[in-house]
Symmetry: C2
Subunit: 141 residues, 2 copies
Amino acid sequence: MFLTQRNQYALRAIVELAKRFGSGPVKVSEIATAQAIPRRFLEVILGQLKGSGLVAAKRGYHGGYILLREPEDITVGNVIRFLQGEPDHKDCQNCVFKLQCPTDRDCAFASLWNRVNEAVFGIFDETTIQDLVEDGRMVES
Amino acid sequence: MFLTQRNQYALRAIVELAKRFGSGPVKVSEIATAQAIPRRFLEVILGQLKGSGLVAAKRGYHGGYILLREPEDITVGNVIRFLQGEPDHKDCQNCVFKLQCPTDRDCAFASLWNRVNEAVFGIFDETTIQDLVEDGRMVES
DNA sequence: TTAATTCCCGACTCTTTTAGTCAAGAAAGA
DNA sequence: TCTTTCTTGACTAAAAGAGTCGGGAATTAA
């Protein structure tokens, strides 16, 4: 699989915020219920997501989280990159540049990893949160 | 990253066998040295790989491992699928079929995972072990 | 037939990652 | 001021990942 449970939670939380885009802050507990995510854990995750600039939190009575950009302006790639960075093929980079690579002369994988990486992020980058909201709708009926 | 260290070892071991295809059994210790893989660990991995039908082992004096098919007839996909199976999106399958999915109405991810999976295995399936051997050569010079 | 070599096998350890919890605190509004 | 809601950091538990170890079984050379 490509994403940890945690990162899927993060993505789903954002999708949930997107569904309610424009209707004010959404409480962690609402998101947790809607998406069947453990509330305590989700608090941690959303706390992290604030650092991305994609969401903001508001405390107090009518507090909660809001999405800072329109769902069609956020891609899955934006989210994933924030959560985990692009895969660092540091061993393979070394191979390419021929520096201190443990496998030395025969790292045949640099090109393969690059192609896979580009394919995956190509998809992530062309899929917006809005797309996910709409895909969800289709199944929902 | 897409593959565990262990599975990269497995792939590299097969590449090493491919490089020596046709010249009789190759000892684990030779592969381990050539590819900088801990020998004990590699024994375990190659033991597992026997189950794939891609390699066979011979014991005793001039024993070792051999590749059972030509390097151009084995794809990375063949190896990866044996090692880890195709990712099972069991939660998302549920979403697609609308059965007991934990996220219920809004699993927006089935389509995304499928596209990613197809992209990745598309690349894996069109890359042969021979390709990897040749890529290694290019860097080697 | 014995000794050397090499794979074979299962159990075992160590570390890292992942998942998730908890308690106390700070902001905001009613 | 009381309630609500996010905030923070520490904490625990379970699983996955990486790698080791000792002894046994097949094969071949001497």
